[in-house]
């Protein structure tokens, strides 16, 4: 073992400010500056939680790696951030990358409603424990028969939902996305009945795989991927993973979900990835691998390859009927 005397300018380890605390300090100072401006303007009423309304930078916070990985290589970042379905910014795959920058994400608040002991309006930074971020590499399977592999950074959905102490009546949870025509040009046309709505059964929401992402590839989530917070439900088709969430509702009946509302024959509430259920638009037996070469395809796996973690939730259910 090599030991050496520390240089006299070196701090003892216990005095080093952890990086995330250090970054946090800058956040607090910036927030303080904003408060100062409010004070000068002579209006005492600001957001009382101003100190927590600014979003931490994911790259600065750090995260831990997990065993949730995929054997295939991750999809290149340019494809993950350049090929998106986010109809609030337009229906073309390149629209979100082009127009999503117009959406302001800081500060961000989420309304929590319904059957839970703790409800109300929460600043995102108060709702998510940014010191507990983890990375999960999941396969994303779009209903349009293509897939990607994406390293998300975030927290398990269950940890977040538990904070609100849902009651016994909370059998489902609904997620509602941001819908602001001034900043999201796609919602000016009625492609869907805005705002975008998605939902999960409570046991699905509490499943270990259900995830809330605030970043990808180690960085803060880009707007076109659903900043500042989005759902990631890897055993279901991509549209179940609601983006830019502004409301969480604990409900007792199956909630309205946007695509089912738009075309009930095509899209069901469950929307589990299922190669055996041929969608009226796309055969789901196989998929194009985005970023994997022009002709790259792979066979689609039941539950997108996550049977081990999720299949038990659907024991005895007809998954063709309940698609």
């Amino acid at each position: 073992m090599i030991t050496r005397k520390p240089f006299n300018w070196q701090l003892p380890d216990h005095e080093i400010t952890p990086k995330n605390r250090f970054m946090n300090r800058r956040e607090i100072m910036r927030a303080g500056g904003a408060l100062g401006v409010l004070g000068l303007a002579g209006c005492g009423v600001g957001e009382s939680a101003a100190a927590h309304t600014e979003l931490p930078d994911v790259a600065g916070m750090g995260y831990r790696e997990t065993s949730y990985t995929v054997d295939d290589p991750s999809t290149p970042l340019e494809a993950v951030t350049g090929y998106n379905n986010f109809y609030e910014f337009g229906t073309s795959k390149s629209d979100p990358a082009r127009y999503a920058h117009a959406m302001s994400t800081d500060p961000w608040f989420i309304e929590v409603e319904g059957h839970a002991a703790q409800t109300g309006r929460y600043a995102l930074a108060d709702m998510i424990d940014y010191s507990a971020l983890e990375e999960r590499v999941y396969r994303l399977r779009c209903v349009e028969a293509w897939s990607m592999v994406i390293p998300w950074v975030g927290v398990p959905l269950a940890d977040v939902l538990r904070q609100f102490e849902p009651t016994e009546d909370a059998r489902y949870v609904q997620f509602i996305s941001n819908s602001n025509p001034a900043e999201m040009r796609g919602v000016r046309s009625r492609v869907l009945d805005w705002p975008y709505k998605e939902g999960l059964r409570m046991d699905e929401a509490m499943n270990e795989l259900a995830f809330l992402a605030v970043g990808l590839y180690g960085e803060t989530l880009p707007n076109q991927n659903g900043a500042p917070i989005r759902l990631v439900v890897p055993w279901k088709y991509g549209y179940k993973s609601a983006k830019s969430i502004v409301k969480i509702k604990f409900v007792s009946e199956e909630p309205v979900t946007s695509w089912k509302q738009s075309a009930p024959r095509e899209y069901g509430f469950y929307s589990n990835v299922n190669p055996n259920r041929s969608h009226p638009r796309w055969s789901q037996a196989s998929e194009r691998v985005i970023g994997g070469g022009v002709f790259a395809r792979r066979e689609t796996d039941m539950f997108n390859g996550y049977s081990e973690q999720v299949a038990h939730m659907y024991d005895g259910m007809d998954l063709i009927e309940n698609h």
Binding site: K93, W146, A263, R288
Partner: protein, 227 residues
Amino acid sequence: MAKSAMLRAFGRVWLKPLTFWALVTPALWLGWQWSGLLTGGVHALGFNPIETTHRFLGDTALRILLISLAITPFRDLTRWLPIMKIRRRVGLAAFWYAVLHLAAYLGLDLYLAANMSIAGMFAGLWNDVVERIYITLGMIGFLIFIPLSLTSFNSMVRRLGAKVWQRLHYSVYPLGVIAVFHYGFMVKGNQLGPWIHGGVLLALLAWRGWSIWKSSPRPAASMQSGS
């Protein structure tokens, strides 16, 4: 007079070759992008080149078809007869883009999905035709298109007689309607594209209906000749 002489010269010398090159340009552009893609160079096909190819060929076929339907109304409105010289090549170009559209779907989707088995490709086609309404419509549209393109030659017009030929070629209107619905059922949600193309088609159909009604002999009307 100088102006109309120039216009006549344009119609006689330039109209057909310029139309030809305008019609092949989309195909040349697509081929150029694919050569970039396959040689690892720059291309504009995005992260899902196959999907981009399907959309590009389908859009091009439909738009050229709509242009071909607009040529007779254009003649009626402007009385510029030379425009009729390009009607056949415009219609045929729509057909060839439909052929490429179908070939791309067969080769880049079904053939690859069937692990490069021709039998598997046709099995996949049958599956799609039976299960997916937009594919059903696409194939019906293509089948309607085949006799129209086969009878596009002068010799065929003579052999069939103008009346039969005309009647056969009226099926370009149902073909247009089917093509728009093929597009409409393909897209997800309530998107603008099919409505715009459908609106253009509706306007062309309305014009046609009106001019047929205007020129058909009616008991009360005397010798008013509509064109």
